[in-house]
Assembly symmetry: C2
Homo-oligomer: 144 residues x 2
């Protein structure tokens, strides 16, 4: 989770949305990434998606032995990628800022652990306070 | 749907997995794309995801007035992206080769229409017969 937080912090330092993710296969990091909406104008590179992409093409068996760490609860798109590739275990930094599709993941047999980590939470709260419109855009919402 | 089939065919002509997708806002194409696993070594650029990415950053309201056309039933990842951005209507070329998360989409209020189009089906069947391992990789499965 520390590596995922590092990713979130480096995304934040680039002016991006501070969500980071790491995919670990048998104790070794095979992919890491962070949200690239601002940096690359990407609407599909949430932190988790960026980690999947940076891990590259992996055999199905590798995904099935991997753990995905993410600083924020995974949205529908990222949860779908987790299910598509059969990741069995997800560790979430926090889900108070945003509650993703954790129940859907659990209903499909994924083990989801939530840490409610104050560092992850502070990264998001600070970002959202300054950039509410970017955050709403990232989750497909219209700002209130 | 013809534009989505064109995308699938051009992906196939590049040696890629022949799935194409188009996002239409109020009658105008705002994004089109096709699966880029082979061409770009991408594990997140399914046809629908490529169309989202090529449409670029859009206001939430635009997604909510758009229709997504895809030649093949959308997998968990692509269905998640459809829900994240609140696309209300999805037109699917066929779901006999692969049944995606259509029921999940419908349960969240998305209108899903399936055409069972023979051209879409033939594209996939021809590709899978020649490249079963690439197809299995694309849906996170181990070949039998």
């Amino acid at each position: 989770m520390l590596a995922a937080i590092e990713e979130a912090q480096s995304g934040g330092a680039e002016g991006g949305i501070p969500v980071g993710s790491v995919i670990v296969h048998r104790g070794k990091v095979i992919g890491r990434g962070h949200n690239r909406r601002i940096q690359q104008g990407s609407v599909i590179r949430h932190g988790e998606m960026d980690a999947f992409e940076n891990a590259g093409r992996q055999p199905a068996q590798v995904y099935r032995e991997s753990v995905l760490y993410t600083t924020l609860s995974p949205c529908a798109m990222c949860s779908g990628a987790i299910l598509l590739y059969g990741i069995p275990k997800v560790v979430v930094g926090e889900n108070l800022t945003f509650m993703g599709e954790e129940e859907w993941l659990r209903s499909r047999g994924v083990e989801v652990t939530v840490l409610q980590d104050p560092v992850c939470m502070d990264l998001m709260q600070t970002f959202i306070a300054k950039n509410p419109e970017l955050w709403h855009e990232d989750i497909g919402e219209t700002p209130a």
